[in-house]
């Protein structure tokens, strides 16, 4: 989230799309209701009329996988009805930037497409710059070559009728949603978007969110209370795990994971550190080398010196064209390219796209270590449906670990709040905290390398150990190292910090080896002032729900990102009712922690543009970093009911990732699989249900897999409510109970009737006995080209009554 949970209450309009917070983030609903009591409108857009829809003022259905068409229509609506916040757009975004004359868009393809490689050569996706390298800009937004005018032309095709024929949303519903949300372009109003996996798990997942980001910039909602782009994370610490480098392409703090060709630290810095010639741009990422070197010091301690590139050469590198995401890893495992696997707190045999392929892939492993609270469909895959245990060589080790209440540590919620949790009870039996398991494993691996040597021992033998005294995992020591400490006595702003004391904030991090920090983004969380994540003050001086002394928010306790965009160029809030930050005129800001302490933009020479993490200092209406285009464009899901994409000759995302093993089979516009399917979560189960299916009170409420379908579809198939069905796709099939409901209805897509169904993905064969298997047996291995996230929210199936004969 750019904002945070409590801030939802400050919104005048809440659009929920690709999410279902009433079911999946129930606690959040009190803030949604608080906003509604203050007059906010709640809009729910979803293939299903879900629990959030039931609370909403406006519900609009759409075909799963057509969000860009829906949002593209909203962009057009905003532009053609002049609903945008013009001064915000002109001053704080790249809407006025003049585009390279070579940039273009024809029949679904942007300039520079290389069809043989299925990727873009992006040199034409840039701005015209003057001799000093500063982008040319038309603040009136009228220049035909500026981003704003390109945007207008691009989305002019997204008329209500064209959109409706693709999304299946009635035109009246489209216009109602567009009108109501667009009204937040009024500077006195703000609107927020709450989204989750319903947006991300598509082959256009990133562009779904880009489309909404453009809307929020057009309406001037970024950086403002009740605004922002807000991802509702699917797990309590997903935000923390990505912050700390869980994804293959990042180091902690969203630093770039190095590539093989970046063989020296100098080369890595050269290729990853952005430069800006514009004196108005803070270009905060120019400090990346300080964060990188401090990270290396946190990894290798005293062994990291300037002479050895601070141990940079010891860190693993990605192959230059290598990809190591979930889809890529299981594809490689399926091909036999992976020998060992840690399934740590995960259950990929149920949770992963194309679960049948995943299960087959696990057979190719020599060993698997499953760390979990309970045995599950992954750890016991070898005795699952269709498996012959005697023919499976994989040796499986199941390590019992502690549940959240059985260990101490932090987690970071969707709103970027790092919150400290204390241990309530000891873990049962032999179970240990994840940290303790890792430390013990590490100590043994290290001892083995010390004793027997081996290839490339340096990274293992030089790994910093002072946080793991006597082989014990200490969450406080780790949190302190993540914050960072001075590696030598340092004077900063007139204050002397002896060696070993915490660095007070990331501004104090250095690239000369004098500081260590496990994650620059968390520098300021655990300092000489103590563990800020454990703070519990309910004081709220602004009255806007910032609660600045409750826990700690990255970065430097900023509660709303890009908050300098919440004020005009004079440092005054755009609206008096939306006041989280203001310039006092006496050289200070009051309210939230500002995105940099520079004075407001009217004091040009000393000021900086508000989007400090962007190289040009402004937000990206035009986003050239994306793999498939700087503007979002509708492409059909890999599996859809249409033969062609009504918007262009490109049926699917031109840069899409599609796995190609013998088991990766697909069906679009295929009479065998005519029904659009999606998956969802239920309140009553947690992720793949490993914990919740073993809880009788939860199982009683949601005992088995069901498939929600309309009365019309059920009637046409002779299926009665509560009857057993088989749902099948081009990849697999699964038994499910029919839940026939008015909450799903047939849609008209390109003149033909299209049905949609939805299944929860929380079930697996192992427990309860005789129960249902996983909905992900149906989904496919295709992914977004930017993130490689699988497209599990839109695929094609058939549903038939189960033949009991």
């Amino acid at each position: 989230m750019t904002n945070h949970w409590i801030d939802i209450r400050n919104a005048d309009c809440i659009l929920v799309m690709g999410a279902n917070p009433a079911a999946n983030h129930p606690i959040s609903f009190k803030w949604i209701q608080r906003a509604m009591e203050n007059g906010a409108t709640l809009i729910s857009v979803d293939p299903r009329y879900n629990r959030t829809s039931a609370q909403a003022d406006i519900y609009a259905p759409l075909r799963s996988g057509t969000d860009i068409a829906f949002l593209g229509g909203m962009i057009r609506h905003i532009l053609f009805n002049k609903k945008y916040h013009e001064s915000y757009l002109a001053q704080y975004t790249n809407a006025g930037f003049i585009l390279h004359p070579g940039f273009g868009f024809t029949d679904g393809l942007f300039s520079g497409y290389r069809s043989e490689a299925r990727r873009y050569e992006k040199s034409s996706w840039g701005f015209v710059r003057d001799k000093d390298g500063i982008a040319l800009q038309d603040f009136t937004l009228n220049d035909p070559a500026c981003v704003f005018q390109h945007l207008k032309r691009h989305f002019s095709r997204y008329t209500p009728e064209t959109v409706s024929a693709v999304t299946g949303t009635p035109v009246n519903d489209l216009i109602k949603v567009w009108d109501v949300f667009s009204a937040t372009g009024d500077p006195h109003r703000t609107g927020t978007i709450l989204y989750a996996m319903g947006w991300t798990q598509h082959t256009v997942g990133v562009q779904n969110i880009r489309a909404m980001a453009i809307i929020q910039l057009l309406l001037g909602n970024m950086g403002r209370p009740g605004g922002g782009v807000n991802a509702l994370r699917g797990e309590s610490n997903v935000q923390g795990s990505t912050d700390h480098g869980l994804l293959y392409d990042t180091w902690p703090g969203y630093l770039n994971a190095p590539k093989a060709s970046q063989s020296t630290l100098a080369r890595y810095h050269e290729q990853n550190t952005p430069r800006s010639a514009d004196p108005r741009s803070a270009n905060a990422w120019q400090n990346k080398p300080r964060y990188v070197v401090s990270f290396l010091k946190a990894v290798f301690g005293e062994a990291a010196t300037a002479d050895n590139d601070f141990g940079y050469g010891w860190m693993p590198k990605l192959d230059d064209d290598g990809a190591y995401s979930w889809l890529d890893l299981f594809d490689r495992m399926y091909h036999g390219g992976i020998n060992g696997f840690f399934a740590w707190g995960q259950n990929p045999a149920v949770s992963g796209a194309h679960a049948g392929k995943t299960r087959q892939a696990l057979k190719n492993l020599d060993w698997m270590v499953a760390v979990n609270l309970f045995d599950n469909e992954t750890a016991s895959f070898w005795k699952g449906p269709g498996m012959s245990p005697s023919e499976i060589k994989t040796e499986v080790f199941l390590l019992p670990c502690a549940a959240s209440f059985e260990k101490e540590g932090s987690l970071t919620n969707s709103g970027r709040w790092m919150q400290w949790r204390f241990q309530a009870v000891e873990p049962p039996g032999e179970a240990k905290s994840d940290g303790q398991i890792m430390v013990e494993l590490w100590e043994r691996i290290r001892a083995l390398y010390q004793k027997t040597g081996g290839a490339f021992t340096e990274p293992i033998l030089h790994f910093r150990r002072d946080s793991f005294q006597k082989g014990r995992y200490d969450p406080h020591a780790v949190a302190k190292l993540i914050n960072g400490c001075f590696e030598e006595t340092t004077t900063l702003n007139g204050k002397v910090y002896p060696k070993g004391t915490p660095v007070p904030s990331f501004a104090g991090l250095k690239d000369d080896g004098s500081t260590a920090s496990g994650n620059w983004l968390y520098c300021h969380s655990y300092t000489q002032d103590g563990n800020r994540a454990a703070r519990r003050s309910a004081a709220d001086p602004t009255g806007m729900g910032l609660y600045a002394e409750w826990a700690w928010s990255w970065p430097v306790n900023r509660r709303i990102l890009y908050n300098r965009a919440s004020v005009d160029i004079n440092g005054r809030p755009w609206s008096p009712g939306k006041d989280i930050l203001r310039w006092t005129g006496e050289g200070t800001w009051i309210g939230d922690v500002p995105d940099g302490g520079w004075p407001p933009l009217c004091m040009a020479a000393q000021s900086r543009l508000p989007f400090i993490m962007k190289t040009d200092g402004v937000a990206s209406v035009f986003g050239p970093a994306m793999a498939e285009g700087p503007f979002p464009e509708h492409y059909e899901p890999v599996e859809s009911p249409l033969e062609n994409n009504p918007f262009s000759g490109q049926r699917i995302n031109p840069a899409v990732l599609i796995c190609t093993t013998d088991t990766d089979t697909w069906a679009f516009n295929d009479p065998r699989y005519p029904i659009v399917a999606t998956t969802h979560r239920v309140t009553e189960h947690w992720q793949t249900g490993v914990m919740s299916r073993r809880m009788p009170w939860l199982l009683e409420m949601q005992p088995e897999l069901f498939v929600e379908m309309s009365h019309e579809l059920a009637d046409s198939k002779g299926i009665k409510n509560g009857a057993a069905c088989v749902v099948s796709s081009a990849r697999g099939s699964v038994d499910a109970v029919a839940l026939v409901t008015v909450r799903l209805r047939p849609m008209t897509i390109q003149g033909k009737t299209v049905h949609q169904v939805s299944l929860p993905w929380c079930y697996g064969w192992m427990h309860p006995a005789g129960g249902s298997d996983a909905a992900n047996l149906l989904t496919g291995s295709a992914g977004d080209p930017n993130t490689h996230i699988p497209e599990t929210k839109a695929f094609m199936v058939n549903v038939e009554k189960k033949d009991r004969g």
Binding site: E700, N721, A723
Partner: protein, 217 residues
């Protein structure tokens, strides 16, 4: 007639069923073996192991879908028909606690053949007979918690504040204020169900029968 009251604001209920689970947890009631029967409502009905149940209903209204949730349990009537009926046969089988909670005691086991009559007396169809123990069962207002100064576990658990608990004056005031607010924004659709006869005040925004056929009398 002071004592304790609930206010159940169905407009705030999101059907998370935290109340249903918390009730089972606090009372040590087991999970019932169920099947998916074509509805999210499960178990299908109240029972000796289920004192509180969130009922789900959905309708097509002129092409638009509407959905209603009803977190159902004993209303703790001011003049409970169950108690009046039971009292004819077994003294103090059903008692009224000083909080106003209607409590089924172990003596309900002695009602024998009259048990059915007691069940039938409830206008809301709430109590159930446990065939194994012979006891009559239902919500007890978490009366031991209330005596210890705590609120019932359902109210404690509700994430949106749809279930409120407190003294009569506070709860009636809360219900009245919310009713007025709802009527203002939803065109006089709000009503409180049987508000003069029960300690559990339900705010609904449609005919109570669309929530559940025994929701009102």
């Amino acid at each position: 007639m002071a004592g304790k009251y609930f206010f159940i604001d169905t407009t705030r209920c999101i059907a998370c069923r935290g109340c249903q689970v918390a009730c089972k947890e606090w009372h040590g009631l087991p999970g019932v073996k169920t099947r998916q029967w074509g509805s999210p409502q499960n178990p299908q009905d109240l029972g000796p192991d289920t004192y509180r149940l969130v009922r789900f209903r959905e309708y097509d209204r002129n092409g638009k879908t509407v959905r209603y949730y009803f977190s159902e349990a004993c209303r703790h009537c001011l003049d409970p028909d169950c108690r009046n009926t039971a009292e004819q046969y077994v003294e103090d089988a059903i008692i009224i606690d000083p909080t106003g909670a209607v409590i089924f005691t172990d003596k309900t086991r002695s009602l024998g053949t009259h048990a059915e009559e007691v069940l039938d007396a409830c206008p809301f169809n709430v109590p159930r007979l446990d065939p194994e123990t012979g006891l009559l069962t239902k919500c007890d207002m978490c009366v031991t918690r209330v005596h210890a100064g705590l609120e019932p576990i359902c109210a404690k658990t509700c994430p949106t504040g749809a279930i409120q608990f407190g003294n009569e004056q506070a709860i009636r005031g809360m219900a009245k204020a919310r009713l007025e607010e709802i009527n203002k924004v939803r065109g006089n659709t709000g009503m409180l169900i049987n508000a003069d006869a029960v300690r559990v005040l339900y705010l609904v925004t449609a005919d109570p029968k669309v929530y559940y056929e025994y929701s009102a009398y």
